[in-house]
Symmetry: C2
Subunit: 717 residues, 2 copies
């Protein structure tokens, strides 16, 4: 073991010769302080880490995974998996995010930088034992210190580098469905948004826009004159976001395939031939994204689509998902043949059924192909968790080469820490289950903790059938998520806002309008989280240290000012909430009516009919809102309203920029620093601007602890 | 349509000539009042019922089904289904319970007596429309009136007749697992309970006790000298409960099979030959339980086991579950063969996979066999929901013939209303998911509403792996359920109380002890619910009519005195609860320590560490508890403690009987009527007994609204 001091807060313990993942951006210096404190480490055939938890210890982290924000009680496997049924027992989802915080008697962060499988048994086998098993001998282990949770997360986010920044329009509402089969279908959706006056920024193209599911092709029959089509929608204010899959179809004459074979850019099998697996198009090869030349090659292919005017992409199937391989299929078919005319009992019957069920994403298949990295052949299984990350890195680097100053929308299904610098993620193929609203809620702060700020779930649920009520309640959560996308699967009930009754549509319209009204806050808080290594979504415990706040699993802090308490129970007309301190309840109801009431510290039941969104404003905080528009570009922010709940003084840094370039990195952005001080019955307000903000007038609704509302107006000159 | 007046509260509307299900016990008289009020009925190819719901309407009922106690928002299919993954989208579970209550502007119960498929769309397609489609033209529709929810449920329970009464020992803790493969394994479990001093009344035998899964056989290799084995366990205070499956193995020389074929007791295919399907043992025939002679024949087979000393049974796989039929298997294998060497894309690949996944319980199979009823051939699909019911009726009638005065334990997986008179049910193959604790909680009052009082779920979860915490929290719910059984599947983590760490085991032991301490209450409340057509578990709305109580989906009334508020969130150390009135919180913690505190009406956060069970005692109610013992027979009830929360006056009817016979029906039972009246600083207590209760001394802990505790003792002479 070698020990590196990264900085005053972070130590790195290197075991063996780890595969370089590029997940961190700080290297540190070798020291001779050679002992890991706190943890018991066994370094044998595998690397094992044990820690005895105190009864009250809470374990935060693990990004995209099941169970609570507090991960205690579960077993988790870091192994990117395409599993479309996120039942509570699933140990792996699409991402592998190996960062946890132990919050209790001892207090520190633990990051394991290892690209293969890791098992985290967090008090599952024995309620008080944290047992981590790393399937290998070569890994970097980081211990991150801090005296507050926020300090640990900030130190960790410093270590792994600045999060991805999408274009501003990507904060608008986005409509998707695996079912918009041709240009006409997409246009109908666009027209419906227009007709029903529902704001929207983007429509998605799922796999059917391609010619036989071939990456970087357009099916000209279904989408003739694609460039003009993109332009036409753009003129309506809508962007088209196509999907890109990891697997490249094997088809003579298909350029990407032929080039990849010719140049040796695909993963290979044990005999050195391009590895064959099957996904959407049937048999494919997988680009070897760990090979920088292959990455560059694939990344520049996105130009096919950017040349059409495309400005955003979602990378899918990049765990990589494998429907089947020849090996598995032959084996299953063989078993089927042997079963013919047999009297199958429970054991032989389930063995047959399982042979087909287990065809997909089979461990044996992941062990049977290879990457070629710096002249060495690396078994895929050992670096499995880097695949989606590097596909997305390929895309990000390609897009940067294509248009260096342009911010593209880019998010991925599979991920590993490090990828957060290049793109966001969506949480994959969830279901139209009320339980998945809650899972979505719990997962978002965990993802933020692991660097992924641009995140969101398929609102309304991908698989299964939603109803209007579920979709509305889900929107009430998602309208705060950086990625607010409604997406659903072919064969399920349609779930665009206009797929339901009039009354429900009106509520959905209002929910989406609210999203747009909240953009001044959402965007500013997102960007500040990026710059300051903060969390956009945080568990209550990150701001409140009382015992009750630490256990709250169904409320979230959003940015610095807000706490949200979404409803995730069918037919509920309210819910109980825990207020760790006095807060201002803002009820955003139908129309533009807004009700305020001051709520004392404690438990409360908050009524919230389907058309009402309760938002809690924290004490001495401000919440800027604007008016809605048909999309992000159409937002008129010459007037902003700041709701303030001021006991003595409150300040807010409003941030904005051009939304489409990286010029903010050169200091070209707008800022308004607002400082409000309560003076007996009045408030003193100081405002200072930087850059040239569009905002010309600031309206203030200032509410004090007694609930008195004072309205003030400030002109920005 | 013919109209019958059943009584002042119930009307029956008969469409066509319904198949006689015997689900109700009252016939009524034909009247000429020929109109169904409130409902829109379309009688065409199918029978459709429509009802426009008011925004605030709540729909109760549907017994064993997904979603909330309030069924609004879902689609449900009454079609008994063996589906071992109870995800929230499942429309059918094992039972078909076609009773709902519309609770809102209009107020009535609706029972549809129809043995085939019914679809209940309760505000799923359109949020305000209740749309019921009955797959047939012949059905009885009952409208049940009442001015309170309790009145409607009582009137309905009168209509369908008195619920099953198990022996008293069936209220003890019961241990099961599909993994006790031989006598030695069972004995080890028995010994572990003894060694760890954990009370227990029964151990279950899953399918492996049989010889090749043949009903009414014992595998002599695994269970030699079975009669002595049963006796030996009985001497330890434990009963053995074997499983009985619906399918009868096709095997030359196997008596049940040969007799069934010879006498024509099996369901037949289109050609009139015994229908062949495959389940546990491979190919089987299904007894035709709709044929009274077959029913009698099968029922008397239970004597094979009662002769060994067996006193309880669980009837399984009686939807009936079908793993596969020759038709489906051949088709799937054919498809597999055709797929060989094909390049399967998404559509053809999933078609192949689905051919195997959908082998089981295929609609086409249910449509391809027949019952013979009174000389007529009835397609199974049309009477599908009667199968498990009539298998269990066969068992109940058989057991009655075998030993008329003995109460046997009997419960079933599949069910239909009417079966509640013969047996209980367990809620089938659930999972070790926290979500399933909540589902269990919500389902129990719905089942009670449909007549099923002896109910319980597989505590800890059947499939998947539990952890100690989950099992403990689940026990804290199940310790109030009439059927309190811990059951798990082969291949999952062991979940007997002693399968975890010492500390967890100690907590589980205490939870099980509490169950036994609560037996005086649980048994009395169960029996009174049977006699008075009451509910043992009820939603809060059945006692409290305020708006908030109607929406509570995670608290239960248990009997007349208690409200419980189980914890179903991992790592929670408490939860919020709604008290519709002032109540007394009794905290049952470790040891025999008991803490009381009076809680005012409103929302409260109640702390409850893992070893604490909060129980709320309603105002002016009493709660009798005894001491625990190693099993039900060992309980010493000479002294009972009555906790009372008395504002002015409270009364309680304590009930007990011999626990093993039906002599209670002849008035041979014990009763203690207790009346407590508060007199400024003291209480007057009147006690009146009937029969010869074992209770000799009554200790009272009487708590008033100010929390003052007064202890009193009454000797019963």
């Amino acid at each position: 073991m070698k020990v590196y001091k990264i900085n005053d807060h972070i130590m790195k313990y290197r075991f063996g010769s780890p595969f370089e993942t590029h997940s961190v951006v700080m290297q540190g210096e070798l020291t001779d302080k050679g002992k890991i404190h706190r943890l018991q480490v066994q370094w044998e055939e595998t690397l094992k880490i044990n820690y005895k938890m105190d009864k009250e210890d809470i374990i935060w982290g693990l990004g995209e995974s099941q169970r609570g924000m507090n991960k205690r009680g579960g077993i988790y496997e870091a192994y990117c998996s395409d599993d479309p049924r996120h039942t509570p027992d699933k140990k792996s989802l699409y991402g592998a995010h190996n960062f946890i915080i132990i919050d209790g008697l001892e207090f520190f962060g633990l990051y394991i930088d290892f690209p293969g499988k890791i098992i985290f048994d967090i008090g599952f086998t024995h309620k008080d034992l944290l047992q981590i098993e790393i399937e290998g001998k070569d890994a970097d282990i980081y211990i991150i210190k801090g005296t507050k949770l926020y300090e640990i997360s900030r130190n960790f986010l410093e270590l792994i580098g600045e999060s991805y920044v999408p274009p501003k329009w990507a904060f608008g509402y986005q409509q998707s469905r695996w079912d918009y089969l041709d240009a006409r279908a997409v246009e109908e959706i666009a027209e419906a948004f227009e007709k029903h006056e529902i704001p929207c920024d983007a429509i998605y193209l799922d796999i059917d826009y391609m010619e036989n599911f071939k990456d970087f092709t357009i099916d000209e029959k279904k989408f003739p004159q694609f460039k003009q089509f993109v332009k036409k929608l753009r003129e309506k204010g809508l962007r088209l976001i196509p999907i890109i899959d990891a697997g490249v179809k094997i088809e003579a004459g298909y350029g990407v395939y032929e080039e990849g074979v010719e140049k040796g850019y695909f993963c290979i099998d044990a005999e050195g031939k391009p590895f064959v697996a099957a996904v959407w198009p049937g048999r494919v090869h997988f680009p070897d994204f760990l090979n920088p030349a292959a990455r560059k090659w694939f990344g520049l292919k996105y130009k096919v689509l950017t040349d059409y005017g495309i400005e955003g992409f979602w990378n899918d199937m990049n765990e990589p998902a494998i429907f089947y391989t020849e090996r598995g299929l032959q084996q299953a078919i063989h078993q089927a043949k042997r079963s013919e005319n047999e009297n199958l009992d429970i054991y032989s019957f389930f063995a047959l059924k399982d042979a087909f069920i287990n065809l997909s994403n089979h461990p044996q298949d992941y062990q049977s192909f290879y990457h070629q990295v710096e002249g060495k052949r690396i078994n895929h299984h050992q670096v499995h968790n880097l695949y989606g990350y590097n596909m997305t890195k390929a895309a990000a680097e390609g897009l940067q080469a294509i248009d260096p100053d342009k911010r593209f929308l880019l998010f991925s299904r599979a991920s590993y820490i490090g990828m957060h610098r290049y793109a966001g993620i969506w949480t994959g193929d969830n279901h139209s289950w009320w339980e998945h609203i809650l899972l979505n809620l719990k997962m978002m702060p965990s993802l933020n903790l692991c660097g992924f700020l641009y995140v969101g779930a398929d609102t309304g649920g991908f698989s299964g059938d939603t109803n209007a009520q579920m979709l509305i309640r889900w929107m009430q959560l998602s309208l705060f998520a950086p990625l607010f996308r409604n997406h659903s699967a072919m064969g399920t009930r349609k779930q665009e806002p206009f797929a339901f009754d009039e009354e429900s549509m009106a509520i959905m319209r209002r929910m989406i309008q609210l999203r747009y009204e909240f953009i001044p806050y959402i965007y500013a808080e997102y960007m500040k989280a990026v710059f300051h290594k903060g969390l956009y979504f945080a568990p209550l415990a990150f701001a409140y240290e009382d015992k009750l706040s630490k256990r709250v699993e169904d409320q979230l802090l959003v940015g610095e000012s807000l706490m949200i308490t979404p409803i995730y129970q069918e037919n509920a007309v309210g819910r109980t909430v825990w207020l760790p301190e006095e807060m201002l309840l803002c009820l955003f109801g139908p129309g533009e009516k807004l009700q305020y009431s001051v709520k004392f510290q404690g438990h409360h039941y908050i009524g919230a009919d389907l058309d009402v969104v309760p938002v809690f404003l924290r004490k001495n905080k401000l919440f800027p809102i604007g008016s809605y528009g048909k999309n992000i570009e159409a937002l008129d922010h010459t007037v902003l309203r700041f709701i303030g709940f001021v006991e003595d003084q409150a300040s807010y840094h409003y941030y904005d920029d051009d939304g489409i370039t990286y010029r903010y990195k050169e200091g070209i952005y707008d800022e308004i620093a607002i400082f409000v001080e309560k003076k007996s019955d009045d408030y003193a307000i100081h405002v200072k601007k930087k850059g040239s903000p569009k905002v010309k007038k600031l309206l203030f609704d200032l509410i004090d602890r007694r609930g008195r509302i004072l309205e003030k107006t400030i002109l920005l000159v």
